[in-house]
């Protein structure tokens, strides 16, 4: 109960953070040379100033920046993210269409990276300075040093082009009319490469943290107590070290949530996935201010939500948190 209360307090405390982000970005975008209308006019091959003026009025761009910001905040309260200039639909619905793909990509990758990182980190820490540790750490470092998009491209070359095992891109077979389980399998088939690409990069980070964390916990006094009780090494890892070593891993999930969303921008664009990240890229290129702000808003909400869950999990793992210290 207390844990929930604490997590809710942290959630409330992130409201000002959200406001700082939105206000900062909104004002930043005011500095941009050219606005949505300029972009639109350029797209339709130029036009007369009268049309431009009319369009500006339509998109609410003819009032001062501060009033625009105030208006934006007011509408946000009703979760109205405005009209997307490029897609001609409400931003909220554009985002809602794209969000599931990104969520699926992120959550699968995260699970894979977390589970793999934990297992490999433990394996490396238990064999420190012997070949499994050297191998795991080296491979981990190589994954960590690899640009995700290049990793994805090479995956396409190898598994889609050379072997033809996996599709090179897309979320599902367009126009195949698949439903039910068949569709799920098709989507899973399409997502193997993107998920593995995103997961491997983060797996390296998780594995390094887990290894370091296990090594640190292994040197703590209560592990010595466990040895003095006559516990075997495996029992020590499972009953004493693991839970303590997982604490920094859980923290890392919260800290990396933003980085992972950023990573999905690149991965989605490599694999032509219709997700939030790719939408962000498109709206930057096309200067669609409303959409971009909407994405930023939703991303921030997503990161805050992840951190809320992280707080809850952390509170479950560590009884000291509920005690307030």
């Amino acid at each position: 109960m207390n844990i929930l209360l604490l997590a809710l307090r942290r959630l409330a405390a992130s409201l000002p953070t959200l406001l700082i982000i939105l206000a900062g970005l909104f004002l930043l975008l005011q500095l941009a040379p050219g606005d949505t209308v300029d972009a639109l006019m350029a797209q339709i091959g130029g036009g007369d100033p009268a049309t431009a003026k009319e369009l500006r009025h339509y998109y609410g761009l003819d009032i001062s920046a501060l009033s625009q910001l105030a208006r934006y905040f007011l509408r946000l309260i009703e979760f109205d993210l405005g009209q997307s200039a490029i897609y001609g639909k409400p931003v909220a619905s554009v985002i809602a269409e794209r969000l599931p793909v990104t969520l699926l990509l992120m959550s699968t990758s995260l699970c894979l990276a977390f589970a793999g990182g934990t297992a490999l980190g433990i394996l490396a820490a238990r064999n420190i300075d012997r070949w499994p540790d050297t191998l795991i750490s080296t491979v981990g470092l190589i994954f960590y040093s690899t640009p995700s998009f290049w990793f994805g491209l090479m995956g396409i070359v190898l598994f889609a082009i050379t072997f033809g095992w996996l599709p090179a891109g897309g979320f599902e077979e367009v126009g195949s009319g698949l439903t039910g389980l068949a569709r799920v399998i098709d989507i899973a088939h399409h997502l193997v490469l993107p998920v593995v690409t995103l997961a491997l990069i983060f797996l390296a980070t998780y594995l390094r943290i887990m290894r370091a964390s296990m090594l640190e916990v292994r040197g703590l006094d209560f592990v010595r107590t466990a040895r003095a009780k006559g516990l075997g090494e495996t029992a020590i890892v499972i009953r004493h070290a693991l839970r303590n070593a997982l604490l920094p891993m859980v923290t890392l999930v919260g800290l990396q949530a933003g980085t992972m969303l950023g990573g999905s921008v690149v991965v989605e664009s490599v694999f032509a996935l219709p997700g939030l990240g790719r939408l962000a890229y498109e709206s930057v290129v096309q200067r669609d201010l409303n959409t971009l702000l909407g994405i930023v808003f939703v991303s921030a909400l997503l990161v805050i939500a992840v951190n809320f869950i992280v707080d809850l999990v952390y509170g479950q793992l560590d009884p000291r948190i509920a005690a307030g210290r």
Binding site: P16, L28, S148, L153, V266
Partner: protein
């Protein structure tokens, strides 16, 4: 200092990283000597495979530009962006982290809110926005990368300051009547610096990766021979001429690996007993 160097050189991985980094620096330095021509100019028939023409070691790309020349010049871009962006991020991070950690209370609260805001925002998304607003010439991109990378070093510096500020030697300085500025910069900072310096290698690795991703998406400076640009331009011919993307990607991998190995080596040399890796 000598002891530190000796411990560093005894670690084979660190040694390898150091040698690799020196090679990449050398490549960056001799680029104009080996390839006096503009690396982005037309050099020959497009899409020649590596070594197909002895003149082009790594072949040519879809626009007939020499890939080897772009790799050599790309090393300059990556290292320069990495170095400058890292300096910016570390400088901002140290100042903010030091102030927040030393003063605590409301100062800490306010600064950490801002830091949190930056960390809540996916940094690549913020980078996209900055580049969209301020343009994508190389200077802007570098500054923007530095600007999105400071929160992590700031948190690290803050954590160091939080533990150090209650150490008795700091209390002793205050009892002697020393002012805050002198305590922060002359007494605490030298003790807080080593882990931050080690962390700089992580920032630099990420900075190089960020720039390459940006270039890959065509959002970086198109007038610079950047490895990311080359990978992006090779995408169109991925099915047949995959080497156009593969070679620069490998170059990025090696550079980031070298920087990370040097950072880990430094970390191990500074904490010989801990052997703790950081991210």
């Amino acid at each position: 200092m000598g002891k530190l160097l000796r411990r560093y050189l005894q670690n084979p991985a660190a040694l390898l990283g150091g040698v690799l980094l020196l090679v990449i620096i050398a490549v960056a330095l001799i680029a104009p000597l080996v390839f006096p021509r503009d690396p982005l100019s037309l050099a020959g028939r497009p899409l020649q495979w590596p070594m197909a023409n002895p003149h082009f070691w790594f072949g040519t790309d879809a626009s007939g530009r020499d890939i080897a020349a772009q790799i050599f010049y790309g090393a300059r871009v990556s290292l320069l962006i990495g170095l400058v962006a890292t300096s910016i991020a570390i400088a901002i991070g140290i100042v903010i982290g030091a102030l927040a950690g030393f003063y605590g209370g409301y100062v800490d609260e306010a600064l950490m809110r801002v830091t949190e805001a930056f960390q809540t925002l996916p940094n690549f998304l913020l980078l996209l926005v900055l580049v969209a607003v301020f343009g994508s010439d190389i200077t802007t991109v570098t500054i923007a990368i530095g600007f999105v990378s400071w929160p992590a070093p700031a948190r690290l510096t803050r954590a160091e300051f939080l533990t150090l500020r209650n150490r008795e030697f700091v209390q002793a300085c205050r009892v002697l009547g020393m002012g805050d500025r002198q305590i922060i910069f002359r007494e605490i900072l030298p003790n807080a610096l080593p882990p931050v310096i080690v962390y700089a290698s992580v920032v630099m690795a990420v900075a190089i990766l960020l720039e390459s991703a940006l270039a890959f998406l065509n959002l970086s400076d198109p007038n610079v021979a950047s490895w990311g640009n080359l990978i992006g331009s090779g995408r169109g011919v991925l099915r047949t001429q995959w080497y156009v993307s593969a070679i620069p990607g490998f170059a990025i991998l090696m550079t980031v690996l070298a920087v990370s190995l040097v950072g880990q080596g430094l970390n191990d040399a500074l904490n010989p007993r801990l052997r703790r890796t950081i991210t």
